[in-house]
């Protein structure tokens, strides 16, 4: 292993510190015995125990999970379709407008997206609840899916689809049997991205949620306004753990697949 120069070491340390120090402190204090967040009084897991008994938190977690799963699934379907049109359909009239509309939520301030959705729901008389949050989350996470999937589609060899047609597939079965399996990694990471975005969205959810449908970020936000409790720390630590496990698994799977592919290709060359 190459030794790092002092400059690289400093840059690395600063980078990691800025990114992860706040989280590390949060995790440490989640195991704090004391009720006072900033005073260390010894190690304990009691806040985790209390968390499990907190019905309000559990309900919010359940709402969040449902919203995330459903909205990211719909967003993946719609986003993939949008990506297909953008990459494949060539230059149709209105293409620029369409691509602009797809990518607008990427740069639109969340407050504005949230507010406009709220006005829409009021306008058409839709009662705010889990359903409206799902709609809102689908709207803004769909563009991320579309970005991820279209970047994969650009490098997709179109002759693969033509080969499928040539061998007797209808256009739909060519997509199902050839295109989809090949772009699956991009579709899955698009889904994961949408899922994560929905999981931790606060602004848009607070515009579009109703009294019966508080999501976890809203719950945490309102709890923190009354004062930070070690219970919140414990909850946040759990969320960090879930996200970290997901991200690490995903990257390990990708890395192993690419390593295996490289090894196979080397073997094929020497075979």
């Amino acid at each position: 292993m190459r030794r790092l120069s002092w400059f690289n070491t400093t840059a690395l340390t600063l980078g990691f510190a800025f990114l992860y120090l706040p989280m590390v402190i949060l995790i440490i204090y989640s195991f704090n015995e004391s009720k006072l967040v900033t005073v260390w009084a010894g190690f304990s897991t009691k806040w985790y125990g209390e968390l499990i008994q907190n019905e309000a938190f559990l309900n919010a977690a359940w709402v969040t999970l449902r919203v995330a799963v459903i909205s990211s699934t719909i967003a993946t379907v719609l986003g993939t379709m949008a990506a297909l049109v953008l990459v494949r359909a060539g230059r149709f009239s209105g293409r620029t407008l369409f691509s602009g509309m797809i990518y607008a939520p990427l740069v639109m301030p969340e407050v504005i997206t949230g507010l406009s959705l709220l006005l829409l729901f009021i306008g058409i008389g839709l009662d705010r609840g889990v359903f409206t949050i799902i709609l809102a989350h689908t709207t803004f996470s769909m563009c991320y899916v579309s970005v991820v999937v279209s970047s994969r589609l650009v490098s997709f060899d179109k002759s693969l689809e033509e080969a499928a047609l040539d061998l007797g597939c209808s256009p739909i079965s060519a997509f199902r049997l050839v295109t989809l399996p090949i772009i699956a990694p991009a579709v899955i990471s698009g889904w994961l991205l949408a899922f994560t975005l929905s999981l931790d969205d606060l602004v848009i959810a607070s515009f579009t949620s109703g009294p019966s449908s508080t999501t976890l970020p809203i719950k945490i936000w309102s709890a923190v306004r009354l004062g930070v409790s070690p219970e919140i720390n414990a909850l946040s630590t759990l969320m960090i753990a879930i996200v970290a496990v997901g991200v690490i698994t995903a990257s390990l799977i990708t890395k192993r697949a690419s390593l295996k592919q490289q090894a196979d290709e080397r073997a094929a060359v020497h075979a």
């Binding site: 002759s159 033509e162 080969a163 499928a164 007797g168 597939c169 196979d264 290709e265 094929a268």
Partner: protein
């Protein structure tokens, strides 16, 4: 030996498998194929040869069904194929990139087309086994495309496109990705497979040697038009234009004006040089501009002036290309014109007869060159 020579294009009663009738294909204002009419016969190995952008790939994609002609019709077995989508055509294609499905094994790739026809499972297995045997891929059946070498991938692509026993197989630059040695072996393998299966092959290539090796007939294309369709030998020995003569093989083109004399022509081509003598069926008027295309191997190179040669002229050796089996000499005439002459190196370790700057005599017979109207 009682074997009939395969030449359906000379048989007026033979029915062509494919007929292009006044086919034009435009992309916007760009004319990719310009009003072409020609036939391809069953069991032919037909090559579309031309530089990139000449329209040969468009021609093939119209046969496969990925493009439709702007004007004109294409008939397959007497039936207009324009309304038939690619997945319903009895035509299969081998793609230049092979287009193997990366997520499927070699076996599944070959079985892909058969499964679409909902063929019974035992039949699929038998057919795939047959194809694996034909392409010598038995031991790779379970591998994925990225686990095999380039040459093996090429054979998988061939097996996959042949599996459905198409009436017509299209090959788009099938050997482009292989190195020279493997390419030669594969050319003979392709011919062998074509003979065994009796399938009609249409190959698109920019490699003239490949087209000459494998094809029963070659169509030389340029700028959306077929310039000449003929057997490899006739394309080489009797090109119908300077373009074809120049595109296929090595050639020297001498331009001049013709004067009929006896049963041939005298061609004045340079000041201070005797006229070239050529016997030809080409009809030329007195004083008409013409070109004499002469292949290097038809030109002899000697130190002394040859007696009674129809054409003989002196020059200086400018360049020598030693190719192992052959040596090509570039000989410059006093007026600057360069003529290529080729000799076979039949003896090993012989003293080189000629070297740079040597004065030599070039000579050829009055039938060696092809006379083309200018």
């Amino acid at each position: 030996m009682g074997q009939t020579i395969f030449e359906p294009w000379n048989d007026p009663s033979a029915k062509p498998l494919i007929q292009f009738k006044n086919v034009t294909k435009k992309f916007g204002d760009f004319v990719a194929i310009d009003n072409q009419t020609f036939d391809i016969y069953a069991q032919e190995f037909f090559a579309l040869l031309g530089p990139s952008g000449c329209g040969k790939t468009t021609m093939m994609r119209m046969l496969a069904g990925f493009e439709t002609p702007t004007e004109g019709t294409i008939l397959l077995g007497g039936e207009d194929i324009a309304p038939i989508p690619p997945n319903k055509r009895a035509v299969n294609m081998m793609f230049q990139s092979y287009a193997l499905f990366p997520h499927l094994s070699v076996w599944e790739n070959i079985a892909f087309g058969l499964k679409r026809d909902s063929m019974p499972k035992p039949d699929i297995e038998a057919r795939v086994a047959e194809m694996l045997k034909l392409t010598r891929l038995e031991q790779f059946a379970k591998r994925k495309p990225h686990q095999i070498s380039g040459g093996q991938r090429q054979r998988v692509a061939l097996a996959r496109s042949l599996a459905k026993a198409p009436k017509l197989l299209l090959l788009d630059e099938p050997l482009g990705a292989l190195d020279a040695k493997l390419r030669q072996d594969t050319q003979f393998e392709l011919m062998d497979i074509q003979e065994k299966t009796g399938t009609t092959f249409v190959i698109v290539t920019h490699d003239q040697e490949e087209a000459m090796t494998v094809a029963s007939r070659v169509a030389v294309m340029d700028d959306g038009r077929i310039i000449q369709v003929d057997t490899p030998a006739r394309i080489y020995e009797s090109p119908n234009s300077v373009y074809v003569a120049d595109f296929i093989g090595d050639v020297t083109i001498l331009s001049g004006t013709a004067t009929p004399r006896d049963d041939g022509y005298d061609i004045a081509f340079a000041e201070g040089q005797p006229p070239l003598r050529s016997k030809s069926d080409t009809r030329l008027d007195k004083g008409q501009a013409c070109h004499l295309a002469i292949r290097p191997e038809k030109v002899s190179i000697t130190a002394e002036k040859p007696v009674d040669a129809a054409n003989a002229m002196q020059g200086k050796i400018l360049d020598i290309a030693y190719l192992g089996n052959l040596s090509t000499y570039h000989v410059q005439l006093p007026n600057g014109q360069i003529i290529k002459a080729q000799t076979a190196n039949t003896r090993r370790l012989s003293r080189r007869s000629f070297t740079w700057e040597d004065d030599v005599w070039l000579s050829w017979t009055d039938t060696a060159g092809v006379l083309l109207a200018g």
